[in-house]
Amino acid sequence: MYAIETKRLTKRYKSKIAVDGLDLTANEGELFALLGVNGAGKTTTLRMLCCLSKPTSGECFVCGKNCAKEPAAVKKIVDISPQDTSVADNLTVIENLRLICGICGYSYEKTKEKTEEMIRIFNLNEVRNTRSKTLSGGWKRKLSIAMSLISEPKVLFLDEPTLGLDVLARRDLWGVVESLKGKITIVLTTHYMEEAERLADRIAIMIDGHIAAIGTLSELERLSGKSGLEESFVKIAENHGKKAAK
């Protein structure tokens, strides 16, 4: 069984097709990157997989559960760290973590255990009593990911987790994501080539709602005849554009 599976997944907004007949799979424990320029359909795909949006046609499954037909079951096994900061501004770091524990219905003991675990994993101790609105972008992203792990998801969606971060904060966050590899399935959207290159087991290149190419970095390099993800991405995008023009 795949952790993620989409079958002819399509999302249409009036005249615009955001995702067009998407077929992809991600294995359990895999870190799968969806790479693409703005408007490629990455976030829309994630939204459908998280039950935040219903497909216009096609189907998507998380651990075998249909996102459109069994949203309650899917919501129990997924979590997301959205693109924008999604923390409660006037709550401290630890209060934000406790909030999610409360929503998960954890006992006092489990809440204490989970919050301390997240503080340790994400090195949040020095800011544990700091209100979120005063945190830097890097700390907020770390907190956001920590909050998404509280529910012990089988599949974690990270929507452009390092967008707008400086190089140090980005590398710090990469370290955190790398530490999660293999433990849970992670679907990461990004338009930073180096991020996908460093973190992902497999990469799907999305262009105009389509999967233009999918595979490991070496497979994409072989397919494009170019070296490095950036060059491969450009070549694949150009070829896709030519095909679309025909």
Binding site: S53, D79, Q83, A88, I103, S148
Partner: protein
């Protein structure tokens, strides 16, 4: 239930940690209480104008303060909807009822606290101005204001659901201005007569103020209960509309 408690706690903390909420929800009404008490002192006794006497003013100021709870409810909901915070919560197993209860319970609690503080301040002012006020009757006025609290919180929910973070405060300001005027807080709506009194009677604010004023002086008459009934019907109606709007917006957000 855990979900509602956790979300309610978050919403309660979000508001009490917002300095502006103290300025608007407490500071402004209390300043108006002090200013109008001074105005009352300047009114000659032969004018026979008691609208700004502390026992009359207290109920009106309490309703005036509740309108700011409406503003902060609208701001909280609109801000959550415009950001990614609700998106995160939408991916959890929280249902629309959990969100609604999680917003409404802490706001009504804040409204109760605000009313209690307003009446304590009014009682202190009444001691200074030698106006007789009974603390137990003031406590009953807090109870009499419960339908008004639900009404204002529901208005806030509705505006926060329909409008965004920028437009909802503007709309709430219009309601605050109109509500405090047409509620007869700053003038004698009954004495005005004509169309103005008809408009005041047609809206809930006047009835909310009258119910609080009558409770403050222990006048639990038929008139008191009719004002309570009218305010309650309005509160129930606006609550149903706001719940429907929130559920439908949530459904649209998840489509």
């Amino acid at each position: 239930m855990n979900k509602i408690i956790a979300f309610s706690k978050r919403n309660f903390l979000e508001i009490i940690r917002e300095p502006l909420s103290y300025i608007f929800c407490l500071g402004f009404p209390l300043i108006m209480l002090a200013v109008m008490t001074l105005v009352n002192d300047s009114i000659p006794p032969e004018a026979d104008m008691t609208i700004f006497r502390t026992d009359n003013l207290a109920g009106g100021i309490a309703v005036f303060g509740l309108m700011f709870v409406m503003l902060f409810t609208a701001l909280t909901v609109a801000k959550d909807r415009s950001g990614a915070f609700l998106i995160r919560l939408y991916t959890t197993t929280m249902k629309s009822g959990d969100f609604l209860a999680g917003y409404m319970i802490p706001m009504v609690l804040l409204a109760v606290i605000q009313c209690v503080i307003t009446f304590i301040a009014s009682y202190i002012v009444s001691l200074v101005t030698s106006v007789s006020m009974n603390p137990l009757e003031m406590l009953s006025a807090v109870a009499a204001l419960i339908p008004s609290m639900i009404l204002m919180v529901s208005f806030g929910m509705l505006f926060g659901t329909i409008f965004n973070e920028k437009s909802s405060p503007g709309l709430c300001s219009i309601i605050i201005s109109l509500g405090s005027f047409l509620g007869g807080i700053w003038f004698d709506a009954e004495a005005a007569g004509g169309v103005l009194t008809d408009i005041c009677n047609a809206l809930p604010f006047y009835h909310a103020v009258k119910a609080a004023r009558l409770a403050c002086v222990g006048a639990y008459t038929g008139e008191f209960f009719s004002h309570i009934a009218i305010t309650s019907v309005w509160a129930a109606g606006i609550a149903v509309i706001s719940v429907t709007a929130f559920k439908s917006k949530m459904k649209a957000d998840l489509n």
